[in-house]
C-alpha cells in the first residue's frame, strides 16, 4: 500500500526537500528586488541616517553583484539580519514579533474553518436557492472589502458598539512573564483568568476581520467539494438508512469534502499573512505585519535590512503553510500513497 510509518517519514522528507529550491528562489528574488531593481537605493532607504551610513551603503552597492549576493546570503543564513537606520537589530525584533502574528493568523484560520466551512455546507445544501445566494453574497463581500476598510469599520464603528478594545494585546501591561509572546497563551499559562478574557477580547476583532475577509476561499472550496460528494451513492445510502439531514451532511458528506478543503490552508496562507500588514497596523497588534507596515509603507521609516527580512519571513510562512497543507492532504486522503 505504501502507507506505513517509514513511508510517511520518506513522504515528509521528500516534500521538505522539494521546498529547498523554492526557498532558494525566494532568497534570490528578494535579492533582485532589493538590490538590483533599485536605482540609487541608498538615499531612499537611509533617509534620516547620517552621511557615514549612506556612504557605507553606497560602498556596499558599488561591489560586484556576485559579492553583494554572497554578503546578503551569508548575512541571511547567519541570523544576523542587519540593523535599522536607528541602530535597532532586525532579528530580535522579528523573532519577538513572530509569535503575536502566529497567534493572530492561527486564530483567524480557526474562525475561518469553523464559520467558513459550515457556510460552504449550507450553500451546498441549498444550492441554487436563497440560502446559497445569501452565503455567496456574504463571502463575496469579504472578498471585495479592502482589508483596511474592514479593519477601520471594525475599529471605528463596530468596536464601540460591541464594547471591545481596539488597540494592543492587553489593556494594561501584564504582571506575569511572557513565555510564548502569544497574549492568550501567556495569560493561560499564568492562570490569570481576567487577563485571559482581556487578551481574548483584544484578539477577537482583528482575527474576526481577517477571517471574514479571507473566508471566501474556504467557503467556496467547501461548497464545490460538497456538491461533488452529495450525489455519491454512499451519501444516498446514508439518507436511506434514515439518518438525519444534519448527520448526513456534517458527518458523512463533510468528512470527504474536508479532504479537499485542507488545500484551503495553503491557498489562504498568503492572503492571511498579507492581511496582517494592515490589520496589525490598524489594531496596534505588535506583530510582523505592523513591522512590515512600518518598514515597507509610505509613512514610516524605510529600513533596508528590515524590508529584506520581512519579505523573506512572509514568503517562508507561505511555503511552510503549503508544506503543512500538502502533508495534511497526504495523511487525510487514504488514496494518496506515501511513497
Amino acid at each position: 500500500m505504501g502507507r506505513s510509518l517509514e513511508d510517511l517519514i520518506i513522504f515528509i522528507l521528500k516534500r521538505f526537500l522539494q521546498l529547498l529550491p523554492v526557498l532558494l528562489g525566494v532568497i534570490v528574488l528578494t535579492f533582485l528586488v532589493t538590490h538590483v531593481a533599485a536605482i540609487d537605493p541608498c538615499p531612499r532607504w537611509y533617509q534620516k541616517a547620517s552621511l557615514a551610513v549612506i556612504n557605507h551603503c553606497k560602498a556596499q552597492f558599488a561591489l560586484p553583484l556576485w559579492t553583494q549576493f554572497w554578503n546578503y546570503f551569508t548575512q541571511l543564513l547567519s541570523g544576523n539580519w542587519g540593523t535599522s537606520p536607528l541602530g535597532v537589530p532586525v532579528y530580535p525584533v522579528i523573532s519577538a514579533a513572530f509569535p503575536a502574528t502566529l497567534e493572530l493568523v492561527l486564530t483567524s484560520m480557526f474562525l475561518m474553518i469553523f464559520i467558513g466551512i459550515p457556510l460552504g455546507v449550507i450553500a451546498a445544501q441549498f444550492a441554487g436557492r436563497w440560502g446559497d445566494h445569501l452565503v455567496r453574497v456574504l463571502y463575496l463581500s469579504g472578498w471585495s472589502i479592502p482589508t483596511y476598510v474592514g479593519a477601520i469599520i471594525a475599529a471605528v464603528f463596530l468596536a464601540p458598539f460591541l464594547g471591545l478594545p481596539t488597540s494592543g494585546e492587553y489593556s494594561a501591561p501584564p504582571p506575569f512573564p511572557q513565555v510564548t509572546h502569544m497574549s492568550v497563551v501567556d495569560a493561560i499559562i499564568a492562570l490569570n483568568f481576567p487577563y485571559t478574557i482581556d487578551a481574548l477580547s483584544h484578539l477577537i476583532l482583528p482575527a474576526g476581520v481577517l477571517a471574514f475577509i479571507e473566508m471566501g476561499n474556504a467557503t467556496r472550496m467547501t461548497r464545490s467539494a460538497m456538491l461533488e460528494v452529495l450525489p455519491l451513492e454512499y451519501v444516498k445510502s446514508a439518507r436511506m438508512k434514515g439518518l438525519s439531514n444534519f448527520v448526513v451532511l456534517y458527518k458523512h458528506a463533510l468528512r470527504n469534502a474536508l479532504i479537499t478543503a485542507t488545500t484551503v490552508l495553503g491557498v489562504t496562507a498568503g492572503g492571511l499573512l498579507a492581511g496582517t500588514v494592515v490589520i496589525e497596523e490598524v489594531f496596534g497588534w505588535p506583530g510582523i505585519g505592523a513591522y512590515a507596515f512600518a518598514v515597507l509603507g509610505g509613512g514610516g521609516r524605510p529600513d533596508f535590512d528590515g524590508a529584506i527580512a520581512v519579505v523573506v519571513v512572509f514568503a517562508i510562512g507561505v511555503v511552510v503553510a503549503n508544506l503543512i497543507a500538502d502533508i495534511l492532504y497526504g495523511v487525510l486522503d487514504p488514496r494518496v500513497e506515501w511513497r
Binding site: L29, A127, R129, Y148, I152, P160, L273, G299, V310
Partner: protein
C-alpha cells in the same frame, strides 16, 4: 505519411471546402448562453448589471465629466473651492457625499477616481492574463522532458512557484519601496506579482485539453504544433481563464487600493484622485467616527466595483465549471422535485445548444482531419 502534405494544404485558410461559419449564429448563441447563465442565478445577473452601470459611469466620466461630476476637475486644480460655510458638511442635496475640510465635494472626487481605479483593475488583470496565459500555454503544451520546450517549461514553472511563495501584497510593497513611490511604481509592482497564478491555471487547463481526441486527431493529420496550440488548445483553455479574469478584476482593484492605502500610491489631494489614497489621507488626518462621510463613500465605491466583478465572475465560474454544474444538477434533483432544478442543461434550448456545440466540435475536428 505520404498523404500528410496534401491534407495540410487542404487545411490552410481559404482553400478548404468547408462552408464559412455563420457569424451571426454564434453571436446569437453566446447571447443566449449569457441569458441562461443569468437566469440560473439572480446574483450573476445583478453582478452583470452592476458591471454595466460602472463601465457606463466610467465612460461618461472619461468623455464628459461635466455631465455627472458637478464640480469636476476644477476643484482639483484649485480653480473651484466650496465657500467656507460649506466646509466639512455632512451629505446634503448639493453635496450628496458631503464636503471635506479643504472644501472638496467628495462625490466629485469619488466619481473622478472611477476611470483610473477601474482602468488599473482591468489593465493589470489583462496584463496578467496575457503574460501568465502565454507562459502557461508554453509550459503546458511543450512539457516533454529532455527537449528544449521541456527545459523551458521547467524553468517557467519553477519561477512561478517562487513568485507564488510571496503574498502578492508584500512583494508588491517591497518592489514599490525599492524602486520608488508613485502610481506607476505601484502599477508595475502589481503587474510583476500578479501573473503567476494565471500560469498555473492555464498550464493545468492546457495539460487537460491537449490529450483530448480532437487534438490527437489534429496532430495525426499533421497539423503544425503552433497551429494546434492557437486554434485547438487555446480556444478551450480560454473560457475558464476569462471567467477567472472577471473575478480577478475585483481582487486587483482591492489590492491596488491597499497598496495605495499603505502609502505607495498617488498623493491625495492631487490632480487625479484615487480611492485608496483618498481613504489613507482622511484616515490619517481626521477623526473618522465624527467625519464618517469622509471614508464611507470612497469605501462604498471600491466595495461596489469589486463586488460587481466578483458576483459576475463567481457566477460564471459556477456555471462553466462542468464539475459543479453536474453536481448541482444531480444533488438538487435528488432531494427536490425536478421542476425546481436550477439546471440550465435541463431545459430544451440548452440541450439543443449543447448538441450544437458537439456538432461544431465535430465540424472543427473534420476541418482538422
Amino acid at each position: 505519411m505520404a498523404a500528410t502534405p496534401l491534407k495540410v494544404r487542404r487545411h490552410r485558410r481559404g482553400s478548404g471546402g468547408t462552408p464559412p461559419r455563420p457569424v451571426g449564429r454564434s453571436v446569437w448563441r453566446s447571447v443566449r448562453g449569457l441569458y441562461r447563465v443569468m437566469r440560473a442565478n439572480p446574483l450573476t445577473f445583478i453582478g452583470f448589471l452592476l458591471v454595466a452601470i460602472i463601465l457606463i459611469l466610467a465612460l461618461i466620466v472619461i468623455v464628459d465629466p461635466a455631465l455627472i461630476v458637478p464640480y469636476g476637475a476644477a476643484q482639483n486644480t484649485g480653480v473651484y473651492k466650496q465657500p467656507p460655510t460649506l466646509l466639512q458638511w455632512p451629505p446634503s442635496i448639493q453635496h450628496p457625499f458631503g464636503t471635506d475640510q479643504g472644501g472638496l465635494d467628495i462625490y466629485s472626487e469619488v466619481m473622478l477616481a472611477l476611470p483610473l481605479d477601474l482602468g488599473i483593475g482591468i489593465g493589470i488583470a489583462a496584463f496578467a492574463l496575457i503574460a501568465g496565459g502565454a507562459l502557461g500555454l508554453i509550459a503546458g503544451f511543450w512539457d516533454q522532458p529532455r527537449t528544449l520546450g521541456g527545459a523551458l517549461s521547467v524553468v517557467i514553472m519553477r519561477t512561478t512557484d517562487v513568485f507564488l511563495a510571496f503574498p502578492s501584497l508584500v512583494l508588491a510593497l517591497a518592489i514599490v519601496a525599492s524602486i520608488g513611490r508613485g502610481v506607476w511604481a505601484a502599477i508595475l509592482a502589481i503587474m510583476i506579482t500578479w501573473w503567476p497564478y494565471y500560469v498555473r491555471l492555464v498550464r493545468g487547463e492546457t495539460l487537460a485539453v491537449k490529450h483530448l481526441p480532437y487534438v490527437t486527431a489534429a496532430r495525426a493529420a499533421g497539423v503544425r504544433d503552433t497551429r494546434i496550440l492557437t486554434r485547438h488548445v487555446l480556444r478551450n483553455v480560454l473560457e475558464p481563464v476569462v471567467v477567472y479574469f472577471t473575478l480577478d478584476i475585483g481582487t486587483v482593484l482591492v489590492t491596488f487600493s491597499t497598496i495605495s492605502f499603505v502609502g505607495a500610491g498617488i498623493p491625495f489631494p492631487g490632480k487625479v484622485p484615487e480611492w485608496g489614497s483618498m481613504m489613507s489621507f482622511y484616515q490619517q488626518n481626521y477623526v473618522l467616527s465624527t467625519y464618517w462621510w469622509y471614508i464611507t463613500f470612497p469605501a462604498i465605491a471600491i466595495f461596489m466595483s469589486a463586488l460587481a466583478f466578483s458576483l459576475l465572475g463567481d457566477g460564471l465560474r459556477d456555471v462553466l465549471d462542468p464539475r459543479t454544474r453536474r453536481a448541482l444538477a444531480e444533488s438538487s434533483s435528488f432531494h427536490e422535485p425536478p421542476a425546481e432544478v436550477p439546471q440550465p442543461a435541463a431545459t430544451p434550448d440548452a440541450a439543443e445548444a449543447e448538441e450544437e456545440e458537439i456538432e461544431e466540435e465535430a465540424r472543427e475536428a473534420g476541418v482538422a482531419a
